[in-house]
């Protein structure tokens, strides 16, 4: 939309039938064809896990394709390391910007440049030229740690330019930026593109931005290109439809077992945490599964952590079965809250420990004589019970959890909480990194929790999964609950639209207010 039209011409980079199979057998990309024309802004969109990250990594040399070829300016190339790609002229800017915070802007811009001598004056002049060319002002001598995230993003783009990058890949560049900072980044991207020296591959969850900024869009789904179109000819609905696909959803969310008169188990009121969670209030009844729908870094995990008391800065009221919960994980566990965290290995399990020790950790006092001396037999009994109930595949309870597959390890995390006095489950992406079979089992387990009268809050970026399990869905965008829908009355399309901030205007009038619950 923003720059001149690009006709045929030779593409700057072309992927032909690129496939990526990971060592564990998962296929992330199946025969992707992609052409990026010079001096254009090319958008890349797809649902979570569609293969975007893999594609970016292959283009940036961080991963090697399993088969297929990459053509750079018509030449077949093979990049084994990011340095190879960088030398050729590809720069990737990831969400977590790889700048050295203690060094100045100047030093960061020159990072990776060869040669022995640094004469500040010469380099300063060089940078001033660059800055005046792109029309951006920043003090080159300020350390990067003093810059805002938006400014850092700009420095990263400038760094790419200093290195002579012709293709700049931007992965979710605006996810953590304020609106004014976004505008700044957009302006720079457009201007550089107009000057005709730089090409952008722009990857984002924010469809609005993609429609606004790019010239062409490629849509990935399940590791395949399902659409490639001129942005100008494209409508929001077409884009969402391409992303989501027309699928038959297996909706099995029967009527809420407790119904409207079931007691409220979890009550969250005006939960707030600086820069993460903004005034979140909702309630969950016994037997109810409530989904939190949101994209990566939308604040959905932060909400769970704030409820659980794991975020020390969070303020607000959390009640379990009517009683206020102290603001610490110790108090939360005692009150009957359980958190299954997003990152199993870092937050959920002690890797060197055997299955049985991991399972008994949160409820150890109940398995111990006088609350002090753990009883081996009871611990074994619980571990064996969990292993057969959840079908954890391992030869014995003594197997260290780091030798289990993703699905089995996740089941161990569930087992930690299953037999304790838990009333409310907070589940953060419980099916990530889990194969299809185990995923179905975990979803069934979540339904079982609800049938047993527990309250469940389920975070997932796979909205299909939420629709299949939850009764009610709250949509999270930028730390806020922007909409509430009954699962039976919404669709994946609508959730994607709401979560990507496209329906922001409609939010105030359209979304159901939340207080009618309590």
């Amino acid at each position: 939309m923003s720059t001149k039209e690009h006709g045929a011409g030779a593409p700057l980079v072309e992927l032909r039938q690129v496939t990526k199979v990971y060592p564990n057998g998962t296929v992330a990309m199946r025969g992707v064809n992609l052409r990026i024309h010079p001096h254009s802004i090319h958008g890349l969109v797809g649902a979570n896990g569609a293969g975007k990250s893999t594609l970016i990594k292959i283009l940036a040399g961080a991963l090697e394709a399993s088969s297929g070829e990459i053509l750079w300016k018509g030449q077949r190339v093979r990049w084994r390391t990011p340095a190879d790609a960088r030398t050729a002229g590809v720069a990737a800017i990831y969400q977590h910007i790889p700048l050295v915070p203690t060094l100045s802007v100047l030093d960061n811009l020159l990072l990776g440049r060869r040669g022995w001598w640094r004469t500040e004056r010469r380099h300063l002049a060089e940078i001033e030229r660059l800055l005046s060319r792109v029309g951006y002002t920043i003090d080159p001598l300020v350390p990067v740690s003093e810059l805002s995230i938006g400014q850092r993003q700009m420095v990263a783009i400038l760094q790419a330019l200093m290195r002579g990058a012709e293709l700049v890949i931007m992965d979710e560049p605006t996810a953590s930026l304020a609106q004014s900072e976004r505008e700044l980044v957009f302006r720079l991207v457009r201007q550089l593109c107009r000057e005709g020296q730089t090409t952008f591959l722009y990857v984002s969850h924010f469809l609005e931005e993609v429609l606004h900024l790019t010239d062409r869009v490629t849509v990935l789904r399940d590791g395949q290109v399902v659409a490639e179109m001129e942005t100008a000819t494209l409508s929001e609905e077409q884009l969402i439809e391409a992303m989501v696909g027309k699928k038959l959803l297996s909706r099995r969310s029967g009527p809420p077992s407790g119904g409207q008169e079931a007691p409220i188990l979890l009550e969250v009121a005006h939960l707030h945490s600086p820069n993460k969670v903004k005034d979140v209030s909702f309630t969950v009844r016994s037997g109810e599964i409530v989904g939190l729908a949101g994209f990566l870094s939308s604040g959905r995990s932060e909400i769970l952590h704030a409820i659980f008391g794991a975020d020390a800065e969070a303020r607000g009221l959390v009640r379990v079965a009517g009683r206020p919960v102290p603001r610490s994980p110790v108090g939360a566990v005692r009150a009957g809250l359980a958190l299954v965290p997003e990152d199993r290995t870092r937050q959920g399990l002690i890797r060197d420990w055997p299955i049985w020790r991991n399972i008994s950790l949160p409820d150890l006092a109940h398995l111990a004589t006088a609350g002090l001396i753990p009883r081996w037999e009871r611990e074994q009994e619980r571990a064996l019970r969990a292993m057969s109930a959840l079908r954890i595949v391992a030869p014995s309870t003594a197997v260290p959890v780091d030798s289990l597959s993703g699905g089995n390890a996740q089941k161990v995390v569930f087992a930690k909480w299953m037999y304790g006095p838990v009333k409310v489950f907070l589940l953060d992406e419980p099916t990530v990194g889990v194969d299809v079979g185990a995923k179905a089992e975990i979803l069934e387990l979540i339904r079982r929790f609800a049938r047993e009268g527990k309250a469940v809050v389920l975070v997932s970026s796979e909205f299909e999964e939420l629709l299949a399990v939850a009764q009610r869905i709250l949509v999270v965008h930028q730390g806020r609950i922007v909409a509430e829908r009954l699962a039976a009355e919404t669709s994946e399309d609508e959730l994607v639209r709401l979560a990507s901030g496209l329906a922001r205007e409609r939010q105030s009038s359209g979304a159901t207010p939340l207080e009618d619950e309590g």
Binding site: Y22, G25, N48, L349, I350, R351, L361, A394, S403, G433
Partner: protein, 415 residues
């Protein structure tokens, strides 16, 4: 069932591996070498009970500190201040004992250790300064405080109340008889407990070994009636070791401590009060150091303001020899004590063999690095060893079929 048994067997063999029991092998090897060397050079018998009691006595103070240091290391922290805190405890005890009597002096000394431990813990856990820096700071500052309190002079007390703690000994009249009875009883208990657990007679190799050793000692007691005097600090060392071992091995506290060191975030999200445990280990360390200071002061009835400086490094060396990880989550107080014994056996051996003290530092340093190297390599091959374990017919049971799932992989690789 058969896989189950096979698997358990593999795990029990792991218990005797270089990684897990290396320090015991090193200890036995060193003892044997020194015995042979002293025998060849026809000097006094190395295994003479008096010499062994001597080694125990020399190791006792550092050994006590190695125990609390191990606890701190398990929690994932570090305490360099123990030497200074011990000196402070000793100085306080000596300067108060004449005027206020033993109980007040001892309480004041122990309290000073607890307070400093608390300060260390709060600075590390609440303020969030790195433990190395915090305790390096208290190491220096507390030594300075000792200099101020003592006015940089050696102080001494009239009362010799503390020397009872340090210099006296308790004698075991019939060592072999007592040892034999203890060993047999322990072995019997282990076998009974294990059998009850497994619902069948279960003769684990280590309990059989203990039983045989106990019977041998009982038999030997008919021919030789040794008596053995061990100094009080030696008894404190073994008593404390036993107590802390029990706590770590058999209680919820111990399990939580290992969890905190193994993965603090996972422990926190499981409802373990991580801060309490981390601060608690520093308090324990300060308390132990102050107690060691009192023992040290009792030995001479006087304390030099530079007493025990540099001890923290010997203590750490002992813990590392014992296989304690500097990254937290693993370690054993028994092995740390054995590691400390090795260091003092080396010193003692050099003494007996008249090899000249000049070589001592060099050899100790090399021993430490070799030990750490063995542990690191063994750790690496143990990880590899799991792979072998999978290949040994257990693979199908361990692995789940990974089906094509693009959703999973790209997400997993990103986050």
């Amino acid at each position: 069932m058969s896989t189950d048994r096979r698997y358990r067997f593999l795990f029990e063999r792991e218990r005797f591996s270089l990684r897990n029991a290396g320090v015991v092998y090193a200890f036995l090897t060193l003892a044997a070498l020194l015995t042979v060397a002293t025998a060849i050079s026809s000097q006094s018998n190395y295994l003479d009970p008096r010499n062994i009691a001597n080694i125990f006595d020399q190791s006792s103070l550092v050994g006590l500190l190695a125990i609390s240091m191990t606890v701190v290391l398990i929690s994932g922290n570090f305490d360099l201040s123990v030497g200074s805190v011990a000196a402070l405890g000793g100085a306080i005890a000596l300067s108060l004992v004449d005027r206020y009597g033993v109980p007040v002096a001892v309480m004041a000394a122990l309290l000073s250790g607890v307070v400093i431990g608390l300060i260390n813990g709060l600075l590390v856990q609440v303020v969030g300064i790195n433990a190395f820096i915090v305790t390096l700071g208290t190491l220096t500052a507390i030594r300075g405080l000792v200099l101020i309190l003592t006015n940089a002079r050696t102080i001494s007390a009239q009362s010799d109340a503390f020397s009872v703690l340090e210099n006296d000994s308790w004698t075991i009249p019939h060592v072999l008889l007592v040892a034999g009875i203890v060993l047999v009883v322990v072995a019997a208990l282990m076998i009974v407990l294990a059998s009850r657990r497994a619902h069948q007679l279960s003769l684990a190799p280590e309990s059989c070994l203990l039983a045989v050793a106990g019977l041998a000692a009982l038999a030997a007691s008919f021919f030789a009636d040794w008596d053995w005097s061990l100094s009080h600090p030696t008894w404190f060392l073994f008593g404390y070791m036993f107590l802390v071992w029990l706590l770590l091995r058999y209680t919820v506290l111990g399990r939580h401590l290992y969890a905190v060191g193994g993965n603090a975030e996972a422990a926190r999200l499981s409802g373990v009060n991580v801060s309490l445990y981390k601060i608690g280990t520093f308090v324990l360390s300060g308390f132990t150091a102050a107690f060691v200071g009192i023992l040290y002061a009792g030995k001479l009835g006087a304390i030099n303001p530079n007493a025990l400086s540099g001890t923290e490094l010997t203590v750490l060396a002992g813990a590392i020899l014992g296989g304690t990880s500097l990254f937290g989550g693993s370690g054993s107080v028994v092995k740390s004590v054995i590691g400390t014994l090795i260091l003092f056996m080396l010193a003692n051996g050099f003494n007996i063999l008249n090899l000249g003290a000049n070589y001592q530092g060099l050899i100790e340093g090399i021993v430490l690095i070799v030990a750490a190297g063995v542990y690191t390599v063994a750790d690496r091959s143990r990880r590899g060893g799991r792979v072998h374990l999978r290949q040994a017919g257990l693979a199908p049971a361990l692995r789940e079929p990974h089906r094509n799932n693009a959703l999973v992989s790209s997400k997993g690789s990103r986050e």
